[in-house]
Amino acid sequence: MGLLSPQDEIVLKQHLSTLSKPVQLVLFTQAFGGSESGQVAKQILDEIAGLNDKITVVEKSFVLDLEDKAKYKVDKAPAIVILSDDVDTRMRMYGAPTGYEFVGLVEAILVAGTGNIDLEPETMAWIQAVTTPTHIQVFSTPT
């Protein structure tokens, strides 16, 4: 049984129809010693990818794919790296994207696949004026 309800799928499919660029969701999981959330993350990503052919899921092993892990600077799993037409968006999700995290994932996919960033012009100007590496970590829970 799918994690997304038929109603969720209809709404999501409509949102995703605005994608103009391919989006790759690179999922790092740990087969042994990893948590179940890796499998949940995979199922969610597969269900999303099934709704729009511009979205693909690329599976990587957190233990074996060391080159990719280093490339995307992934230091924990499960991790989802969001690429826009193979270009790293520098948006990452750690843990299974359920609950509120799911909304964040969909928003990240929309940004990656449309190039549209829904921010006020003034805020955008502040962000674009940043000249030093900035690492933002947002902690949340599914409920």
Partner: protein, 61 residues
């Protein structure tokens, strides 16, 4: 923010999955945001307030 500037990286972390990190950053409520290991933002804020806090911009910006 990450999509708007190549110098910015944004991680969304499920707090209960990564308890060690949550303890490290003293996450007692969510959302909690940590910027460059130094700035802490508790709760959700309006867009401009959040960006101002995250980038440590003065109130008059």
């Amino acid at each position: 923010m990450a999509a708007a500037n190549p110098l910015i990286t944004a991680d969304a972390i499920e707090a209960t999955e990564f308890m060690d990190l949550s303890r490290k950053y003293r996450v007692t409520g969510v959302p909690k945001t940590i910027v460059n290991e130094t700035i802490e933002i508790m709760g959700g804020l309006p867009e401009q307030d959040f960006v101002r806090a995250a980038l440590n911009l003065p109130e008059t910006t």
